[in-house]
């Protein structure tokens, strides 16, 4: 192998290694050193749940409200509503808690494919008017429709877990 061949091989190996690391979806660090957005989100959600356990309801409410203002990349951001409802109910504001829980129920039904965002998709999309504005704006849009029609096993598992938690929060809000 001559010098040029060695150099070519070295460049190829370096390139392959660098690109492989970038494309790994499970990579926790990002190439530009910025914190991974979905990981940061999950961490803040965990912190909010911990505030709930500590009965720091006002702080928990604030945390979940902040999280709901954070767009998740091409993913509907609805899960914190469940814990926001719980925080309201446990803090004594059951009326507000039930309102948020009702919106969450709508969102989860859409995620599970039980409720449709649009009553017609072709040729034009016609919104399902039975859905509240907040539920529609959080969950709908063409980006998400295929996710609802073809949920992964992981998504089914997550949704089933949220449905079980929903039942518990609903009981707390009665």
């Amino acid at each position: 192998m001559n010098r040029l061949q060695w150099l070519t091989a070295a460049v190829f190996l370096f390139t392959a290694t660098a690109c492989s690391a970038q494309e790994s979806p499970s990579s926790l660090s990002t190439p530009d050193g910025e914190p991974d957005a979905s990981r940061l989100y999950a961490e803040k959600l965990r912190e909010g749940k911990k505030l709930l356990e500590q009965k720091r309801f006002a702080d928990a409410i604030k945390r979940f409200q902040q999280l709901l203002q954070t767009p998740l990349h091409e993913t509907p951001n609805y899960e914190p509503n469940l814990y926001l409802a719980q925080a309201y109910c446990l803090s004594g504001d059951k009326k507000r808690g039930r309102e948020v829980l009702s919106e969450f129920d709508c969102m989860l039904r859409i995620r599970n494919g039980e409720t449709l965002c649009y009553k017609q998709e072709m040729p034009d999309l016609i919104p399902n008017e039975a859905i509240s504005k907040a539920c529609f704006e959080t969950m709908c849009g063409e980006m998400y429709l295929d996710y609802y029609k073809n949920p992964t096993d992981d998504q089914k598992r997550i949704a089933a877990g949220l449905r079980r938690e929903y039942a518990g929060v609903k009981a707390a809000c009665e």
Binding site: P25, T30, P31, A37, C117, E137
Partner: protein, 178 residues
């Protein structure tokens, strides 16, 4: 072709962009692009940019992980304000809104003459383009700035492609180089 023209288009840095470009060419042999000619269709890169790599929000390849499920499309790196080209010859069916709750972002659905349905998101459609016949390479809109919604993201257009009702990996049709 000037590799350095890709530098700066990636949030990951110029070196990454150049390597992604070089590696992308190696990973996508010409044989795959024989499909581009199936049915006599021509496909054009809508931004003349590379495939989005990974940033703090995720990766741009087809099937890349999203919290909602696998990425049903491919992301072509763009610069906000640049002209975005139709990837196919066809008819612009309608405007498409990726997010019901965020009217800042939009896109177009184009039905190709060869039976592909192509959705291009994160563009501001040209006025009057809906309902018109367009050719591959014709400007159909302007690239939007995704950074307003997703801080620190690599700007791109999202291309979703269906053929016969099935999802297709756009990079098996659309080249990731100019």
């Amino acid at each position: 072709m000037d590799v350095t023209s890709h530098e700066g288009r990636f949030a990951n840095g110029a070196v990454t962009g150049a390597f992604a470009y070089a590696f992308g060419r190696m990973a996508e042999p010409e044989a795959e692009f024989a499909q581009m000619q199936a049915g006599g269709e021509d496909f054009v890169n809508p931004t003349e940019g590379g495939l989005r790599g990974c940033d703090r929000h995720g990766c741009g390849g087809y099937g890349a992980s999203r919290a909602a499920g696998p990425h049903d499309g491919a992301d072509y790196v763009s610069s906000p304000g640049q002209v975005v080209q139709s990837p196919v010859d066809g008819v612009v069916l309608r405007v498409s809104n990726p997010y019901a709750g965020d009217s800042r972002y939009s896109g177009l659905v184009v039905n190709s003459a060869g039976g592909h349905q192509v959705t291009v998101w994160y563009i501001s459609p040209n006025a009057g383009v809906v309902g018109t016949t367009v050719y591959a390479g014709q400007g159909i809109g302007i690239a939007q700035n995704l950074g307003m919604r997703y801080s620190g993201i690599t700007n791109h257009v999202h291309v979703r492609m269906h053929y016969g009702g099935q999802s297709v990996n756009p990079t098996t049709r659309i080249p990731t180089w100019p």
